[in-house]
């Protein structure tokens, strides 16, 4: 697949998913919390296209409303991580010296740790809530962006146009914000696209484990967990939320792959290599 096609497909997929979430009240036959105890575990078809769950709630409605949780949490977590990581990375990259040294050390230690595991542990001890999920995902999430921003700023710091801006009396903040950061944009954008996919899966994982979105919120991960005991009689409870998440991740993956090729961005392996 060409990279341009990937970007188009990814963007189109994301627009469809975002619209589905936004238009949930009009698309869903009932609310996401409306029980129908007479029709528990109802099979897909008829008025309930994707069937009904353990309390007779409409699965389509819950999948549609779940889009808001998945996209919302991922956007908040990536936004926070991106903002914090970019600022810290720029400061370290431009200032250099001991500031840079200290931040690099902190990042190295943080990266010496499985991120999702720490997020799970944090959410587990703090209890299930959406703000806790965002916090847990952002606490380690910023490191990737900080490394990329730092590397980009450092490679550009000594160029002539920076010296020229400095000679004209521009302050460091202005030089970084106006002259350097825009050049680091593509690499951060690609990383953020993959980060969104990762955050959506992570939110689903936390909710699946019961430490993410608290019930009765229609998080896709929580829906899969709720449907698990009824796998044999009502597989639709597990299948549809999973498909929704897989499609969202696929759209982001296509977009990220395409953007990386189009913008000619190089991410080092899985975001980092071992220090030697």
């Amino acid at each position: 697949m060409t990279s341009r096609l990937g970007v188009v497909a990814g963007v189109a997929g994301l627009i469809v998913i975002a619209l589905a979430g936004a238009a949930a009240p009009w698309l869903a036959p009932t609310g996401p919390y409306t029980p129908d105890l007479g029709a528990r575990l109802g099979a897909p078809g008829g008025a309930h296209l994707l069937g009904q769950d353990t309390l007779g709630r409409d699965v389509l409605a819950r999948v549609l409303y779940g889009t808001r949780i998945s996209l919302g949490v991922a956007t908040a977590a990536v936004g926070l991580s991106l903002a914090a990581g970019t600022v810290l990375g720029c400061v370290a990259g431009y200032a250099g010296g001991w500031v840079d040294e200290a931040l690099t050390r902190v990042i190295d230690v943080l990266l010496a740790f499985p991120g999702l595991l720490l997020a799970i542990a944090l959410a587990a001890v703090r209890g299930p809530s959406l703000p806790n999920v965002v916090l847990a995902l952002s606490v380690l999430g910023w490191t990737g962006y900080a490394r990329l921003a730092r590397a980009a700023i450092m490679s550009l710091r000594e160029r002539e146009f920076v010296a020229a801006a400095r000679a004209l009396g521009a302050r460091p903040v202005r030089i970084v914000a106006r002259h350097l950061l825009p050049l680091a944009g593509p690499v951060l954008l690609v990383q953020a696209t993959f980060g969104m996919a990762g955050a959506m899966v992570a939110e689903g994982s936390l909710s699946f484990l019961g430490v993410g979105a608290p019930p009765p919120l229609p998080s896709w991960g929580a829906m899969i967990d709720e449907g698990r005991p009824f796998l044999l009689v009502a597989p639709h409870l597990v299948v549809f939320p999973g498909l929704a998440l897989a499609l969202a991740v696929l759209a982001l993956q296509l977009l990220g792959d395409g953007l990386r090729d189009l913008l000619d961005v190089r991410l080092d392996g899985a975001g980092r290599m071992t220090p030697s």
């Binding site: 190295d108 499985p114 999702l116 720490l118 799970i120 484990l209 019961g210 967990d225 991740v249 899985a270």
Partner: protein
């Protein structure tokens, strides 16, 4: 060369201390009172005071940190609240099960992904290449907490080929290991394919072919050895995802490992001990991967 593993071991110490510090920092410095979180809002004040004293939370932060590091160094992680037993013993009982699952998943992922990635690169653009690329994309996109139940439904409930859950013989291992391996396998296939493709274009592969080496030897020995360097590095890094994924897989298949303990909500000492043990395991795996990479590629063995 002989001193290299030793040098890596020396470097291991500060990293492990860093991990210990990190765990302490996250559980003690973030907003929220652990005692309140553990006991809930309606706890009797006397109970809260007692628990605070038991956990040493009434002391100054620096004293708590020194105590924490000292105890962790001796393998003492305190008492689990849920199990009413020492955390170290609870973890030791279950650690082998997690290691067994992780090794099985690792073997499955590497054993499947590396050959497929090589074949996809050699037969670039052919049918197998397309199928492999599509499958690897699916492996990356399908979350394990969805794949696990679906595999369980298909192979344990419908076809009745494999046990549904629990730990026992080899048959019990298949579904959890496959669930854990698929995401990692997807990443490894893509990476192997890309790095073998890059290596096939190198001069040394052409030289090997020009000197009369058969095609399988040029690919399997000359190209693969170089292509494996990034694969092994990412393998080490992906071990983190594997260990975190074990939490999910163990939950789905009722596998009695330490991953399930992490979600033992509100048991501070237990979660802390598990995260610490898994974190140190991860650091050890990455160190091993680093040593392995330098053994594969002697150019990297020179001290930087």
């Amino acid at each position: 060369m002989g001193t290299l593993p030793g040098r890596r071991l020396v470097l291991l110490l500060p990293t492990v201390l860093g991990v210990v510090t990190l765990v302490f920092a996250f559980l003690h410095l973030l907003p929220g009172d652990p005692v309140e979180i553990m006991l809930g809002d309606w706890a009797a004040p006397a109970d809260a005071v007692a628990l605070r004293r038991d956990l040493g939370l009434d002391r100054p932060l620096a004293a708590q940190y020194v105590r924490f590091v000292g105890h962790a160094a001796r393998g003492d992680f305190g008492q689990s609240i849920a199990f009413r037993a020492p955390v170290a013993r609870v973890i030791a009982d279950r650690y082998p099960a997690t290691v067994e699952l992780a090794i099985a998943a690792l073997l499955l992922a590497v054993g499947g992904a590396v050959p497929l990635g090589v074949l996809a690169a050699v037969w670039r653009g052919r049918a197998l290449d397309r199928i492999v690329r599509l499958a690897s994309l699916a492996g990356v996109c399908l979350p394990s907490f969805w794949l696990g139940p679906v595999l369980m439904f298909a192979f344990a409930m419908r076809l009745d080929w494999l046990p549904v859950s629990g730990r026992g013989g080899l048959a019990h291992l298949v579904l959890p290991a496959a669930t854990l391996a698929l995401g990692m396998g997807g990443i490894l296939v893509r990476l192997t394919r890309a790095s073998v493709l890059a290596a096939l274009g190198e001069d040394y592969v052409r030289t090997a072919r020009a000197k009369g080496a058969p095609r399988w030897r040029a690919v399997g020995v000359h190209a693969l050895r170089n292509a494996l360097v990034p694969v092994v590095t990412v393998l080490g890094l992906q071990a983190g995802a594997l260990l975190a994924g074990a939490v999910i897989t163990e939950t789905i298949f009722a596998w009695p490992g330490i991953g399930r303990l992490v979600v033992q909500a509100r048991d501070y000492p237990l979660v802390q001990g598990c995260v610490l043990v898994i974190g140190v395991t991860y650091v050890a795996i990455n160190t091993a991967a680093d040593v392995l990479v330098r053994a594969i590629d002697p150019r990297l063995a020179e001290p930087a």
